[in-house]
């Protein structure tokens, strides 16, 4: 059953709302997770309560006052008794964070180039969010609307927005537009710290674009496609011609995953490559002069591109919608495809669940690395990029071509 134009538009809009909703809820949750994960790693507790007396004066102990925040604090105090779920304490903090960013005063410096100053956060954010048009969360239909559903009955609700032939190219191209937002914003601030931060960030992103793209060429060569769905499915579940090629492929994906993630850290300006925001040298880097919603646009775009990097890494290297990473799924399927146990047979089928779990794990790794590794010096950063990662990825590319030839 082919949809009419109006039906197609409505379903597309619903899908866009779903994807945007997913990203927009994940970003504030990530800021909360950042507080907690870094706190736990540093043997602290992170946020455990919310401050302030919402509706009524705050008096006495924070968890016993009869206000909304007091009630929340009381619940979180109770939650603190239980081992693992006590990490959820302080969860209302993300609402407080969002409210704070929305209600803060929006300052434009007097000497700033106003048009560019306003434009650049939007540019960064649009670039970071447009990427999700080509990312596929599930290769096929997520579910079908029931037949009795008004107007949309029987139509599929896809796990992806568009199925572009050159999806990967689109993602890489649009993602690198984001650096214009950073550089233009830094320049338009008319202040020296943002300018230096923006220049650093531009040099860094331009250098790391090369190994990033080269490391993504490995799956492109191995699958012979640029379509996101096709690439992720074939990287995960292609049955290798013979054992040796399969082992080489898995090893290549294993190494490629680390190389790609390293470049991804640099692309998203995250620690240990967050030289654009080196506090001790540059105040806050390119967004020093930004405040209020404009700042939060930069903030959102950084976290959205973290999600993009995680999604690409899990799709191409960690097995995407299948359970096992590094192309090990065919071996697993060989043994368990016709298993009498339903749950074992189910692990052989693709599911959006695995993909989301891998994304969440990689986002956790982002925070984990931030809590562990110190920032690189600038020349070290460039050394790592040009002297090690690019030769590394070139060698990987040649090996991938050989494997493709052998297959």
């Amino acid at each position: 059953m082919t949809p009419t134009l109006i039906q197609y538009l409505v379903i597309s809009l619903l899908q866009i709302v779903a994807v945007l909703g997913f990203v927009m809820t994940l970003v504030p949750l990530l800021t909360f997770a950042e507080r907690k994960v870094i706190g736990y790693v540093q043997v602290r507790l992170g946020a455990t309560r919310v401050a302030g007396g919402l509706w009524g004066a705050q008096r006495g102990r924070t968890h016993q006052s009869r206000t909304i925040t007091g009630g929340l604090n009381g619940f979180m105090w109770w939650l603190g008794k239980w081992p693992v779920i006590s990490i959820l304490r302080g969860l209302p903090m993300f609402i407080a964070d969002a409210l704070k960013l929305l209600t803060k005063e929006d300052i434009v410096p007097t000497d700033a180039d106003k048009a560019v100053f306003v434009l650049s956060p939007a540019l960064a954010m649009v670039a970071a969010f447009t990427v999700f048009a080509a990312i596929s969360f599930s290769p096929g239909a997520l579910f079908y609307f029931p037949a009795k559903f008004p107007f949309l009955g029987g139509l599929p609700f896809n796990g992806f927005l568009t199925d572009i032939n050159v999806g990967l190219l689109f993602i890489l191209g649009v993602a690198s537009v984001g650096v214009y937002g950073i550089v233009l914003g830094a320049w338009a601030s008319n202040s020296k710290y943002p300018l230096l931060g923006g220049l650093r960030s531009a040099a860094q992103i331009v250098s790391y674009e090369v190994p990033l793209t080269l490391s993504l060429l490995v799956p492109v060569v191995l699958t012979g496609s640029l379509n996101f769905n096709e690439m992720s499915t074939r990287m995960a579940a292609d049955v290798p011609v013979n054992g040796l090629v399969g082992i080489g492929r898995s090893l290549l994906m294993f190494v490629g995953f680390f190389v790609y993630t390293t470049c991804g850290f640099a692309e998203t300006n995250r620690t240990p490559f967050d030289l654009a925001e080196a506090e001790n040298e540059l105040v806050a880097g390119f967004h020093t002069e930004y405040s209020g919603m404009k700042f939060s646009f930069f903030f959102l775009s950084e976290y959205a591109s973290m999600i993009t990097v995680s999604a690409l890494a899990s799709a191409f290297f960690l097995g995407g919608h299948y359970l096992l990473p590094f192309g090990l799924q065919p071996a697993w399927n060989h043994f368990f495809q016709h298993s009498p146990y339903a749950i074992l047979a189910w692990t052989c089928t693709p599911s959006i669940l695995w993909f989301l779990l891998k994304i969440f794990f990689l986002l956790f790794v982002f925070l984990w690395v931030r809590a562990t590794l110190p920032r690189y010096r600038y020349d070290q950063l460039m050394n790592v990029g040009w002297k090690f990662l690019i030769p590394y990825t070139l060698v990987m590319f040649v090996i991938a071509a050989l494997l493709r030839y052998a297959a």
């Binding site: 790693v41 507790l45 102990r61 924070t62």
Partner: protein
């Protein structure tokens, strides 16, 4: 450890990053696995207003007079503390009490707003009748809160401070 022989290998395969990630991951798991208010805490912070803080034994808090087993104040008004106090915050009014041979302090005023918590008074006391206790929540709502005296006064040195009422842990 940092042998130059393996430096290329260590650059190509980041063992050191692996070691660091392992360490931080271990601490993350430890804190995550443990109840936050269990008897043995992994984390180093204290959830302060709700959970009581353990202080070092030598901590110098607010001045307090000590009573003996009969509930009698041990001070005999030798005025050693009053004399040695560098900021002169102690004022003692000597008096007599029925059925007590030694002198008895009618007033023992302690002006905490000028006190520097040097503990000279405690060291000079020959009868071990005063200590600096472990109260650290010494903020007051007005100036009167810093004038401490004997029992029966508005602020006395035997009760907890006005701010302290809100912070002592009780339940669980």
């Amino acid at each position: 450890m940092a042998s130059p022989r393996y430096s290329l290998l260590r650059t190509l395969i980041p063992f050191d990053i692996y070691g660091g990630m392992k360490l931080t991951g271990k601490y993350f798991g430890k804190v995550l696995r443990q109840a936050n208010r269990g008897p043995k805490r992994t984390h180093v912070v204290v959830e302060y207003p709700e959970v009581a803080v353990t202080l070092q034994p030598r901590f110098r808090g607010r001045l307090q007079m000590i009573k003996d087993e009969q509930g009698e104040i041990k001070c005999v008004c030798c005025l050693a503390c009053e004399k040695i106090c560098p900021t002169q915050v102690i004022t003692i009014e000597k008096g007599k009490k029925e059925g007590r041979k030694t002198p008895f302090p009618l007033q023992y005023d302690f002006e905490m707003e000028r006190c520097i918590f040097c503990e000279f008074c405690v060291e000079s006391c020959g009868f071990d009748s005063i200590i600096l206790n472990h109260q650290f929540e010494l903020a007051g709502y007005d100036r009167e809160d810093f004038s401490h005296g004997m029992e029966g006064q508005f602020q006395n040195m035997f009760s907890i401070t006005p701010v302290g009422h809100y912070s002592v842990a009780s339940e669980d």
